[in-house]
């Protein structure tokens, strides 16, 4: 429906040159184009962080919401109009720190949308503090003596919380990430893609070069994404190598929207409200 060029907005991009966000942006536009989605029916909802500017760079509808709160905003929009193709953009601090509560509940809610998490292990927009995903011992501006806490495990959390599609991508492999976004969109239910991305300004430890050497594709192993326990184990793998690809997918769980008869015929936004009759309800109060 739209080419990548048509999807590219004229807004000036404010990310640092070389930022991992560019890879995610490119993969997203590729996916929308390849999926032939009508741009007017695409809604991007982002939280706050460097990544949060992403809706401004794509010619679709967007909501740049609050830090950590993109998921409930996206859920409200999806309930209002479930014909929209909703893509939520989170950061690792945004989605796994301040917004982790919403993340867990979004998983069990299983609404048909895709959540893409920009995971760079650092708070970059505030110039380099620790994140809930920062490895233990890391020295950052806010942890000059080393991070004392363990990182969260978002993929295992997503799987055990009820997400029905859980994947990890890498911002440096745009083709692979494009395919993941397409698969996530085609999946019916809540799809999470945790995307590893370098932060060229504040995360010198994990550069493109480092990731290049450490990621491997699940497709190249014999991982069974339909097996819940195997998926949790795989998501908990803490080896030298980092798997990317689809960890878990199930089609056995109905989406929230499918279980709401009120929107079976038409989305809420298309329902006529010009003269709602409440006389039947008033009868009860006579």
């Amino acid at each position: 429906m739209a080419t990548v060029v048509e999807l590219t907005s004229k807004n000036f991009n404010q990310w640092c040159p070389g930022c991992g966000d560019f890879g995610i942006l490119t993969a997203f536009k590729n996916a929308i184009s390849q999926l032939s989605l009508d741009p007017k029916d695409v809604l991007m909802v982002s939280g706050i962080g460097c990544f949060g500017k992403i809706p401004h760079y794509v010619n679709v509808y967007g909501i740049e919401a609050l830090h950590g709160r993109a998921l409930p905003v996206a859920q409200g929009a999806k309930l209002a109009n479930h014909n929209l193709n909703v893509f939520v953009f989170l950061g690792d601090g945004d989605g796994y720190g301040i917004g982790y509560g919403h993340f867990v509940h979004a998983c069990r809610r299983n609404m048909d949308m895709v959540a893409i998490v920009h995971h760079n292990e650092v708070y970059a927009l505030t110039t380099g503090q620790t994140s809930p995903t920062s490895p233990k011992g890391w020295v950052t501006k806010s942890t000059p003596n080393g991070n004392l806490e363990l990182p969260v495990n978002p993929l295992a959390t997503a799987i055990v919380s009820g997400a029905t599609f859980v994947a990890r991508g890498y911002a440096g492999d745009i083709k692979h990430l494009t395919d993941l976004i397409i698969a996530a969109h085609n999946h019916k239910g809540f799809a999470v893609i945790d995307v590893l991305q370098p932060c060229v300004s504040f995360n010198p430890q994990h550069s493109y070069q480092w990731y290049q050497q450490h990621v491997y594709k699940l497709d190249d192993s014999n991982h069974n994404k339909r097996d819940f326990i195997e998926a949790v184990k795989k998501a908990s793998e803490l080896g030298e190598k980092i798997p990317i690809g689809i960890f878990y997918e199930t089609n056995d769980v109905p989406t929230l929207e499918e279980q709401i008869p009120q929107i079976k015929e038409k989305p809420l936004v298309k329902q006529d409200i010009s003269n709602v009759d409440i006389s039947d309800l008033l009868q009860r109060y006579l």
């Binding site: 007017k40 967007g62 909501i63 905003v73 859920q75 409200g76 509940h105 009120q262 409200i273």
Partner: protein, 602 residues
């Protein structure tokens, strides 16, 4: 039984007992019964944040003429335990009667007439100990109705209430009522009774403020309610949920109030009318997204039902101390509308209006109610639908959107209001942003663009019509004393008018249904007429008076302020007494004249 001096029958029943014994049902059942008979009813409940045990009470006031509030005293006290006698015996009128639980009170040695009855035994005989509350209802009816006519009405009500549970339950409840009725009659207990007759059938409704809010929202086309349970707002969630299938409304109970508020912002941005409701504590969590809605110019409606704070406070008790909070909550400057309905009817009409205003001005609208209004049942006129018209403001239709070129979501206009296109429509692609933005929605930190957008947003409410926000006057507008109040305090204030009238004192009540935008000119026109002003509100620091003073320079002396914050609503008699005190003291209100003249002469 009292009649209030001019032969109007007006009596009140208090039923008290531990939580979990169906106390509230006693009041609701009596209320519904007399409502059906064409009488006017007002109930007001008092309960603890406990599911079983503790002390619950419900006051039911019944009158043959229109009433607006509870009374401070009662004529009949139903006491299911000893504590209820101790708590409420002093509220009994001189000739009042206590019907107490014989099992719980071994020795009755109180000054008022008392009838002991074993509620539980009698209920058990009728099939279930749970019917105790219906035995109590029967006792009350025996005291006020010789003809048994009330029993006929009650039978129908119980059929409607318990019909789903089967014939046995209906009959069991009704037998319990009869048992209580006959016991009081057979024991030949003579009480000075009032005659209860069915009146002409009236086109009245009997409901609570929260129920009226739900109906107003449904009438206004609400499509999503996202609410986290919190007393005293929870019944909005429960009531709306019970109608969700019938009215095609989606009701969600998300993980917290942060999610609720963000959800309705997302829903509003996607083009539907969405609502959330909470109390002060939940509103605290919503504040973050309130500012988001304001800067992104997303219409949304929030009900905040106040309870005693701060913090967890007294969760089931009445207070009006969140006014300043909702007026100022959130970082940054932005326009908002704060509506303070004064009675059950206004809950309906103003909730309806709130949705229109939210869309017209593309800004958050807060409906500020409180425990007293949220949970009190009131007899009101059947809601009039004629004047109600949906106004979706500058939201473009699909056809209009199709003709748009070069769309700018935050177009700077004279009114400050920009045309809205929503996702899914053609030609409107933009970002609704929590950042400051230029006309297109793109993030900006440019001082000129910033000025434009702050001023554009401010302009939206600068000329808000005062015909909408003007305070309403009750009582005698030409009196020399006026009671100033906002929100639910209107109800006892209207009763105070009646009390004072009987003593030959004329008074006006000036009630604010809107606090933001504050109706400055109307206030000056109205309040400048009175020699004496009495400000009544249920908080310690006279929050509304502060607002009044700030906007108009009208400075009501401290001694003219009636503040109550003990968890109970203000009683009509307290307002009447305050008015008398001020008239006696001749405590005048200060007016900062220069300030007033500059506005009045404008």
């Amino acid at each position: 039984m009292t009649n209030n001096g001019d032969n109007v029958i007006d009596f009140a029943v208090c039923a008290g007992g531990p939580a979990g014994t169906g106390i509230i049902t006693i009041g609701e059942t009596l209320g519904k019964l007399f409502q059906r008979m064409g009488w006017y009813v007002f109930t007001h409940d008092k309960y603890q944040s406990i599911i079983k045990g503790g002390h619950n009470a419900i006051y039911t006031r019944i009158c043959e003429e229109q009433i607006y509030a509870h009374r401070h005293d009662v004529d009949i006290l139903i006491a299911l335990d000893k504590l209820s006698i101790e708590r409420h015996i002093n509220e009994l009128t001189e000739k009042g009667v206590v019907i107490y639980n014989k099992k719980a009170v071994s020795e009755y040695n109180y000054s008022k007439t008392g009838i002991g009855i074993d509620f539980e035994e009698m209920a058990t005989k009728c099939g279930n100990v749970k019917y105790s509350n219906m035995v109590a209802v029967g006792c009350v009816l025996a005291l006020i109705d010789e003809s048994q006519i009330t029993l006929n009405y009650l039978e129908k009500i119980l059929e409607q209430k318990f019909g789903k549970k089967g014939k046995e339950v209906v009959e069991g409840n009704m037998n319990a009522v009869r048992a209580g009725y006959n016991f009081v009659k057979e024991n030949n207990i003579h009480v000075e009774t009032a005659r209860i007759n069915p009146k002409d059938q009236k086109n009245h409704l009997f409901l609570t403020g929260n129920q009226a809010i739900v109906l107003g929202a449904i009438k206004a086309g609400v499509k999503l309610l996202a609410q986290y349970p919190m007393t005293p707002a929870s019944s909005i969630l429960d009531t709306m949920a019970s109608y969700e299938l019938a009215k095609n409304i989606v009701v969600r109970q998300p993980e917290d109030e942060l999610a609720c508020m963000n959800m309705i912002v997302g829903a509003g941005a996607a083009g539907i009318r969405a609502l959330t409701a909470t109390s002060g504590g939940g509103f605290s969590l919503m504040v973050e997204a309130l500012g988001f809605a304001a800067i992104a110019e997303v219409p949304c409606v929030i009900v905040e039902s106040q309870r005693s704070g701060p913090s967890t406070g007294m969760p089931t008790h009445h207070d009006q101390a969140d006014l300043r909070f909702v007026m100022h909550a959130s970082q940054g400057d932005f326009p908002r509308i704060v509506i303070t309905p004064g009675c059950v009817s206004e809950c309906f009409y103003l909730t309806y209006e709130a949705f229109n205003l939210a869309e017209k001005y593309q800004t958050p609208v807060i409906i500020l109610v409180d425990k007293y209004l949220s949970s009190s049942f009131q007899t009101v006129d059947y809601f009039k639908m004629d004047g109600l018209k949906i106004d979706r403001g500058a939201l473009l239709s699909d056809e209009e959107a199709e003709r748009v070129t070069n769309y700018k979501r935050y177009l700077v206009t004279e009114s400050g209001i920009s045309p809205r296109i929503i996702p899914g429509q053609k030609n409107g692609m933009h970002v609704d942003s929590s950042y400051e933005h230029d006309e297109t929605g793109y993030t900006t930190e440019d001082p000129i663009e910033r000025d434009k957008q702050v001023l554009k947003r401010a302009r939206k409410l600068e000329n808000f019509p005062e015909e909408i926000s003007s305070p309403k006057i009750y009582g005698n507008p030409n009196a020399n004393v006026a009671v100033v109040c906002w929100g639910s305090t209107k109800m006892p204030a209207q009763e105070a008018i009646k009390i004072l009238k009987k003593e030959g004192i004329e008074v006006a009540v000036v009630h604010y249904r809107y606090v933001l935008p504050f109706p400055v000119n109307k206030t000056l026109q109205i309040l400048s007429k009175y020699d004496y002003l009495v400000n009544v509100e249920c908080n310690y620091s006279s929050q509304f008076h502060g607002v009044l003073k700030e906007f108009t320079g009208i400075d009501i002396p401290k001694e003219n302020n009636l503040n109550k914050f003990n968890g109970d609503p203000v009683h009509p008699i307290e307002i009447a007494n305050k008015v008398k005190e001020i008239l006696k003291k001749k405590s005048l209100t200060k007016r900062h004249n220069m300030f007033i003249e500059s506005i009045v002469n404008k």
